[in-house]
Symmetry: C2
Subunit: 204 residues, 2 copies
Amino acid sequence: MTVQHPKDRYHHGDLKNALLQAAETLLAETGAAGLSLRAVAKAAGVSHTAPYRHFKDKAALLCALAQAGFERLRLAIHAAADAVPHDAGQKLIAAGSAYVTQAVRNPELTRLMFGGVTEPGDDGASHAADAAFESLVWIITAGVQAGAFRDRDPYELALVAWTSMHGLAMLIAAGLLQVDAGDEAQVDTLVRSVAQNLLYGISK
Amino acid sequence: MTVQHPKDRYHHGDLKNALLQAAETLLAETGAAGLSLRAVAKAAGVSHTAPYRHFKDKAALLCALAQAGFERLRLAIHAAADAVPHDAGQKLIAAGSAYVTQAVRNPELTRLMFGGVTEPGDDGASHAADAAFESLVWIITAGVQAGAFRDRDPYELALVAWTSMHGLAMLIAAGLLQVDAGDEAQVDTLVRSVAQNLLYGISK
DNA sequence: ACCTGAACACCGTTCAAGT
DNA sequence: ACCTGAACACCGTTCAAGT
C-alpha cells in the first residue's frame, strides 16, 4: 500500500505536466488575468509552493504554456499545408485556416501567446514563435519556386500573408469580429475571403 | 487659504481624468499585468479606495483606457487619410501607417485594447473600436466609388485591409517583429511593403 | 529531490465613518 | 458628493523544515 492513489504520481516526475495541463484548463476558464498560481497548484493537488520546484515563477509557467501553443500552431500549419498537394495558393489558405482555427478554439491561449509574455526574447517561447512563422515562410518559398507567387523575397511575401492571417486571428480572439464558436465553416469563409483578396490584390 | 494646492482640484471633478492619466503612465511602465489600482490611486495622490467613486472596478478603469485608445486611433486614421488627397491607395497606406505607428508608440495600450478587456460588448470601448474600423471602411468605400479598388463589397475589402494592418501592428506590439522604437521610417517601410502586396496581390 | 506550512508584502473590494 | 481607514479574502514569493 504505497503508491496507489494518483496523487502519488506527481511525486514521480509528472507534476510539471500536470501543472501545465491544469493551467491551460484554468486559462480557458478565467483568462490570463484571473489565473492564479495557487489555483493551478490546487487543481493539480499540490501545495501552493510546489510549482516553484518546476517553474521559476508564474511568468515562467505562462511562458511554457505559450511555447506549447506555438509548437501546436507550427504543427497545425505544417499538417494543413501538407494535406493539400501542389497548389501553393491552396496550401496558403489551408495554413491560414489552421492558424485562425486554433485562435478561435483557444482565444485565451492565443491572447497569452501574443500578449507579450514572450518579451525576454531569449526563452523558448519566442523560439517556438519564430519556428511557427518559418513554417509559413516555407510554404511561400515553395510557392515562389514553383512560380505561383510574384518573384519577390519570400520573407516579404510571407510577412504579408502572416500579418493578414494573424490580424484575422487576433481580431477574432479579441472578440471584435464575431464568430459563432462552433461554426468552423464561417472561419473558413473568412479565411478564404481574406486569402483571395491577398492573392489577387484589392486594387483594380 | 482653502483650495490652493493642486491636490484640492481632485475634489472638484478632476480625479477621474487624473486617474486615467496616471493609469496610462503606469501602464506604459509596468504593463497591464503589473498595473495595480492602488498604485494608480497613489500616483494620483488619493487613497486606494477613491477610484471606486469614479470606476465600478479595476476592469472599468482599464476599459476606459482602452476606449480612449480606440478614439485616438480613429482620429489618427481619419487625419492621416485626410492629409492625402485623391489617391485611395495612398490614403489606405497613410491610414495603415497611422494604425501601426500608434501600436509601436504604445505597445502596452495596444495590447490592452486588443487583449479582450472589451469582452462585455455593451460598453463604450467596443463601440469606439467599431468606430475606428468604420473609418477604414469609409476610406475603402470612397476608393471603390472612385474606381480605385475591385468592385466588391467594401466591407470585405476593408476587412482584408484591416486584418493586414492589425496583424502588422499586433506582431510589432507583441515583440515578434523587431522594430527600433524610434525608427518610424522602418515602420513606414513595413507598412508600404504590406500595403503594396495587399493592393496588387502576391499571386503571379 | 520533492513537497509542505508559516510568513511577508502586496492586491481588489467592501463598508462604516468622516467632511 | 467625495474621500478615508480598517478590514477581508486573496495573491506571488521566500524560507526553514520535513521525508
